[in-house]
């Protein structure tokens, strides 16, 4: 697992081959998930993330725009990402910006599926 920095305001996890880069920063208003997620223990990996979001949701910013820019996620991670999204769902102001490579139909479709499973407004952006 990468560099792990955790406090009430900021959570930042540097990405690896198997895990994504995650930056959650209340002060700067940055909420980013990028890279790939194919860890075999997704639940463990995402647990602190969900915890952080839950803590944050008690006193959220006026706007919370969550950016996902993922290249690949395996099935287990998909379930965990869903948990992450469900945690964000507790925040009224939350919005999701879902980035996908313009050739990557799968990622686009995944975003669409997620947007149906949760009740957060999604914006789809190709890059």
């Amino acid at each position: 697992m990468g560099l792990h920095f955790y406090n009430m305001d900021k959570l930042s996890i540097a990405g690896t081959e198997e895990t994504p880069t995650i930056i959650l920063d209340k002060q700067k208003g940055t909420f980013e998930f990028s890279g790939r997620s194919l860890t075999e223990v997704p639940a463990e990996f995402y647990k602190p993330v969900v915890k952080w979001i839950e803590a944050y949701s008690k006193d959220p910013n006026a706007n919370t725009l969550v950016m996902f820019k993922l290249e690949y996620i395996n099935t287990g991670s998909a379930k965990s990402i869903l948990d992450v999204l469900l945690a964000f769902q507790q925040i009224n102001s939350a919005k999701v910006a879902w980035y996908f490579h313009e050739d990557d139909e799968d990622m686009e479709e995944m975003g669409e599926e997620f947007s149906e499973l949760v009740e957060i407004p999604f914006e789809f952006l190709a890059y």
Binding site: E40, T75, S77, K79, D106
Partner: protein, 1022 residues
């Protein structure tokens, strides 16, 4: 399974199997098999096509080579998630476990385990919220083919090896080739089995494929090739730690049960069971099922035999097994005016003193959920006729009332009668679950469905006349009866296709009739009950379970008596205020009666007939009597049905051994409160209308006391009689004597001489609360009203002086003269008259304070016929003249004192006449002064008795316990003290209430009536 779910599953199958090299023939065949078990022939094709489509299967058996880095495609991942979410919304947890097992079996069908496939299945399990530990054991159970790999405590291996093959697993020794593995999925309480070996064993009549997973459901039986049968209940018992640790033995041996009329209800019934069994009792009508249940539960005592729980006789050692037994009868035992939740809540509160409110709520809510009543929890139960909840719900709630305290042994009398088949199944399911938690449960059941029948661990079948006919595994019962009657297919107990058992068959065989030559069945049975019993004796050797030496487990924790009373009060109060009719009538009754009564008797009473003046209202004495009757009536009617109505609930709660005293106190608290309110309303309104001033508190105190007395009296009859009609018929019988002997309607002086005494209230009347109440209220109003209280003392002295000077002096003089004239006569009858008169004179003078002029004679010695002389007679005569003069002076003094006081008040600006009009009642004054009497003074039993002006008299101080006086005396003697009649009378009524309470506590009236009931009337029908 719905089409939607099946489609979702098909997709899931496809997604899993297309990973890593694609679908194999085996896998596809597994899916097709699955469809075959779920679908009709036509639809199978459609779904197989769907599956092929999703999985990319081609007929050549080679999947499309589209692997990306050997990773699951993102699309599949998200699809899996979507499908699982959809399934989550429809399937129960149990169904999801089955789906998960199917998925694992699918993967296992070709042993094609790859990380991707397992990852998908694992994710599915996570999304399904299946506990991690459960997933681990399920995965291992499906995949592993070696028993030693199944190292879990929730695994049971049945094989012929001597010991278990892994440390944690459980083991059962069975003669079988290979091994049978059983798995418990703890989170959903489901059992699965698979067979590892080459034999062909059957599960519920179906051949078990090796290494296939089967659901091992309630009542399942596995038969090995050698014919050894393994029963669900035995195997589950091995799993269950609670059953293993529950120390319970139940040994019943009922040699004979005789009804009071001499008929035999049960013969030689032996039942021996331990913890964790669900036992059914079946039988033709009249076979003694309910009798058996009552005897086993200790509610009826067998004439010969005993029932032992952990070695304790339930008929003789009731105290020691308190709270161990629960009994659900067929009666409806709900408190009608409480909601479903409240019914349970208060019951739980009485059972679990050590619970916090939160725990109580949790427990109640949980039981309601278990019985499917949670969405009805806030509905009022209503009566059987005025239904608010359905019959099935009532039944379930009745069961819940017993279930909530989880007695170690539970008896239920036809818990499913009148329920839909779904409701019935839910109820039995619940009982089964309880039995798996270590309870021993006996159920009388009538016409159970196959599913219900199979859930029982054992079945007791009774035949007409109380003969046992069968005791053992339910599924084997059909086979047994078929076999002993030599039927053709005797080995088949259940339908080979659907696995159903038809319990009706059993009774068809038992009660089969001999057919006459025309083919008509006759009344004669082919096999009589004694014959079945004979076969039973040969076939069934009942192994007596060893008596456990420990105390049986009890989950009960009864609150203290005070707390019980608190709970009872709360429950009763809630029940009453939620009964609107009851509340309305009881709160309106008093004001209405007050209104009717006082408006009717208020008339233009002033001498000119122009206006109403309280002083001249001649109805006041009658009004006071009516007030007391109203208080008695209200008090009686409100309480007369109280205990009667609760009788059923008390019967149920008798298993809890709650305090009768607490219960009664709670009743009294509520009734007294109600009485207080009713009488207060009555007094306020009637006193306001009739313009009775300054008497509110005093009147209320008397009426409240009277009403409370009536409450206790009402509870007495309510506890003694069995029907509301009897109770209400009794009310006039109790009330009318109160009216007759109140002292107002009929003068105590003019009653039958058997009961009447002059100068004292008759003893029979002293038993009447009405007489005390009336005396209290009348004397208090007269003495203490704002007008009279100023002059009462003077008027009293005045009246006494007047009586002495005006009547007593003359009377004594007359008698003294008679003595003087005749003391030396020889005539015996005249001599006795002389003696009597001397006695009277002596007695009067001895209690007289004014004795001047008598210094020279001794009353004791000289006023006797033997020592009487002319001189003495003249001394007495002179004394009497002085006596008269003295009291005339006293009289005059007091008259002038009264006048002076009046003048004093007048000077202060008080209008005395107006005051008198406002506070003084002429008619009441006439009554308490007894002005209508013919003789002011009479002679009775050698004493002179003053008839006039009782209200101004003083009580005789003859003995410490001599409380008795004439009616309306202002004071009474109590242990040498002088107490106002008002306080004394109220005290007496409370004392009477206390005595009635003691009678109620010991149920004396009930016992008395019961002893009458034992008397046989020669003409009575039996």
């Amino acid at each position: 399974m719905s089409e939607e779910i099946l489609k979702a599953l098909t997709q899931l199958f496809a997604i899993i199997t297309k990973q890593d090299g694609g679908v194999t023939e085996n896998e596809r065949q597994f899916v097709i098999n699955f469809f075959q078990s779920e679908l009709d022939r036509d639809s199978i094709k459609e779904y197989v096509e769907l599956y092929d489509n999703f999985s990319g299967y081609t007929r050549q058996g080679i999947a499309e080579e589209e692997e990306k880095n050997k990773l699951t495609s993102v699309k599949d991942s998200i699809k899996t998630l979507g499908i699982c979410k959809k399934i989550n919304k429809t399937l129960t947890q149990k169904q999801k476990v089955i789906v998960l097992i199917k998925l694992l079996e699918l993967v296992n069908s070709d042993k094609h385990f790859t990380p991707q496939r397992l990852e998908i299945v694992n994710t599915v399990s996570t999304v399904f919220n299946i506990v991690k530990e459960s997933y681990k054991i399920i995965e291992t159970f499906v995949i592993s083919e070696k028993v030693e790999e199944l190292n879990f405590s929730d695994i049971l291996i049945a094989d012929s090896s001597a010991a278990k093959s892994a440390e944690l697993q459980k083991h059962a020794h069975v003669h079988i080739e290979g091994s049978l593995a059983f798995m418990r999925v703890r989170s959903v309480d489901m059992y699965f089995t698979k067979y590892l070996g080459d034999q062909s064993n059957s599960l519920n009549g179906f051949v078990m494929q090796p290494n296939r997973i089967y659901l091992f459901s309630h009542g399942s039986t596995i038969k090995t090739q050698e014919g050894v049968a393994l029963y669900y209940s035995d195997l589950i018992g091995d799993f269950n730690e609670e059953i293993q640790t529950t120390k319970l033995s139940f040994n019943a041996r009922i040699d004979e049960f005789k009804f009071p009329n001499g008929a035999i209800g049960l013969r030689d019934v032996v039942i021996s069971e331990g913890a964790g069994k669900l036992i059914g009792i079946m039988g033709a009508s009249g076979a003694g099922k309910t009798t058996l249940l009552l005897a086993l539960a200790g509610l009826e005592k067998p004439s010969k035999g005993s029932v032992l729980i952990n070695g304790l006789n339930i008929h003789t050692e009731k105290k020691k097994i308190q709270g161990v037994i629960g009994f659900v009868s067929q009666d409806d035992l709900l408190i009608e005016d409480l909601t479903v939740y409240q019914n349970l809540y208060y019951n739980a509160k009485l059972c679990f003193a050590h619970y916090t409110e939160e725990q109580l709520d949790q427990r109640v809510t949980q039981v309601l959920q278990n019985l499917g009543l949670d969405h009805r929890k806030d509905l009022k139960v209503g009566s059987v006729l005025d239904k608010k909840i359905s019959g099935g719900q009532r039944k379930r709630l009745n069961i819940a009332l017993e279930l909530i305290r989880e007695p170690a042994i539970l008896f239920l009398d036809e818990p499913t009668s009148g329920l839909s088949s779904r409701d019935s199944e839910n109820v039995i399911d619940l009982l089964k679950e309880l039995s798996l938690r270590g309870k021993l449960i006996f159920v009388v059941i009538h016409q159970p469905s196959s599913d219900i029948y199979k859930m029982f661990d054992k079945m007791v079948i009774m035949d007409t006349g109380g003969y046992p006919a069968y005791y053992g595994n339910p599924a084997q019962a059909v086979t047994y009866f078929k076999k002993v009657t030599h039927q053709v297919d005797s080995n088949r107990g259940q339908c080979e296709i659907c696995g159903n058992i038809n319990p009706e068959q059993i009774f068809n065989i038992i009660e089969a009739k001999v057919v006459d030559e025309y083919g008509q069945p006759t009344a004669k049975r082919k096999v009589t009950p004694p014959q079945w019993y004979e076969m039973y004796l040969k076939k069934f050797k009942i192994n007596r379970i060893e008596d456990v030496k420990e105390q049986p487990p009890v989950s009960l924790h009864i609150p203290t008596r005070i707390k019980q009373a608190g709970i009872f009060i709360q429950r009763d109060f809630l029940s009453k205020i939620s009964d609107r009719q009851y509340l309305l009538i009881n709160l309106l009754e008093a004001p209405l009666l007050a209104l009717i009564l006082s408006v009717i008797i208020k008339y233009r009473s002033a001498p000119g007939g122009k206006e109403y003046i309280f002083r001249f209202n001649e109805n006041i004495p009658a009004f006071l009597l009516m007030s007391i009757i109203v208080a008695l009536f209200m008090g009686l009617t409100v309480s007369a049905e109280e205990i009667l109505r609760d009788r059923k609930i008390l019967k149920r709660e008798s298993f809890l051994n709650l305090s009768w005293n607490s219960y009664l106190q709670s009743k009294l608290t509520i009734l007294f409160l109600l009485s207080a309110i009713q009488t207060l309303l009555f007094v306020l309104i009637s006193n306001f209308i009739l313009e009775i001033h300054g008497m509110t508190l005093a009147f209320w105190l008397v009426l409240f006391t009277t009403s409370c007395f009536a409450n206790v009296l009402g509870l007495n009859i309510s506890s003694a009689f069995n029907s509301a009609v009897t109770v209400y018929v009794l009310i006039p019988l109790l009330l009318i004597p109160q009216m007759i002997l109140s002292g107002v309607l009929f003068s105590f002086e003019k009653l039958n001489s058997v009961i009447s005494t002059k100068g004292k209230v008759p003893i029979v009347a002293d038993l009447m609360a009405s007489r005390w109440a009336y005396e209290a209220i009348a004397t208090h109003q007269f003495i203490n009203n704002e007008y009279e209280s100023n002059y009462y003392e003077y008027e009293k002295a005045q009246s006494q002086a007047d009586y002495k000077s005006g009547y007593l002096a003359e009377e004594l003089k007359k008698r003294n003269q008679f003595v003087l004239d005749n003391f030396d006569t020889k005539n015996d009858s005249i001599r006795s008259l002389v003696t009597k008169n001397l006695n009277i004179i002596r007695h009067v003078i001895s209690v007289e304070p004014m004795k001047s002029g008598l210094e020279k004679i001794s009353l004791e010695k000289d006023l006797k016929i033997s020592s009487y002389s002319k001189i003495i007679g003249e001394i007495v005569d002179r004394y009497l003249v002085n006596y008269k003069k003295h009291y005339q002076k006293v009289y005059n003094n007091n008259v002038s004192l009264t006048e002076k006081k009046m003048a004093f008040y007048e000077k202060k600006g008080v209008n005395i006449l107006a005051e008198k009009n406002k506070h003084y009642s002429e008619s009441l004054s006439d009554l308490v002064r007894n002005v209508t009497t013919e003789d002011r003074l009479i002679e009775y039993k050698g004493k002179l008795i003053q008839e006039i002006n009782p209200i101004f008299q003083e009580p005789n101080k003859e003995g410490l316990m001599d409380y008795r006086t004439a009616f309306f005396l202002p004071e009474k003697n109590l242990l040498g003290l002088t107490v106002s009649t008002f306080a004394f009378d109220i005290l007496i009524i409370w004392l009477m209430s206390l005595l009635l309470y003691i009678a109620l506590y010991f149920e004396l009236i009930k016992k008395l009536i019961d002893s009458f009931g034992k008397v046989h009337f020669p003409l009575g029908m039996n």
